[in-house]
Symmetry: C2
Subunit: 119 residues, 2 copies
Amino acid sequence: MDKVNLAQKFSMFNDFWSPKIVGELNDSHVKLVKFKGEFVWHHHETEDELFLVIKGSLLIKLRDQDIFIEEGEFVIIPRGVEHLPIAEDEVQVLLLEPKTTLNTGNIDNERRVVDLEHI
Amino acid sequence: MDKVNLAQKFSMFNDFWSPKIVGELNDSHVKLVKFKGEFVWHHHETEDELFLVIKGSLLIKLRDQDIFIEEGEFVIIPRGVEHLPIAEDEVQVLLLEPKTTLNTGNIDNERRVVDLEHI
């Protein structure tokens, strides 16, 4: 059984907005992703999603609230809640979400990533 | 919607081996726990369990392997796999596991915690 070192995994990729799978447990995936810039407003119909900031700062805009998440902080976005991740500078994020979760949720555009890499 | 700051939450308790619930998503709880010393061999019949070390060093013994987990590292112990957490010094750990998970798994002894505090 292998442990996962987050820094080592983050060093393996440089693309933004493209989550990599680094673990699976129960019905969920653990993913690592780098964000930079602004994503797209979306929601997930049936999945709650956890964002844990490992390095940097992340803004998640909701329709009625801005949430600033720093290193060592997480937020859980419940299913159905529209959100927009924004990273002024590069941020490293650990995601935890059901295996069914698509990064763009209800939005099918060029930002959608369907076949996630396992690293 | 509130974010969770891990260091702030860890500052709220000092007891060992007593996980606190700091978030829920889908069918799972996010828990924080401090370990010090040796726990008890156990397994979980139907739940996979993630241990992410936030501060300190954790040894998880399996029957055929020792896994040393440092800050910024995690391991997923699959259901059915016997394990024994050992912390030589205090370690702060984030757990992710199904809401049904008991800390002592198949072992019902004085270390079992049934009513977990939400902090």
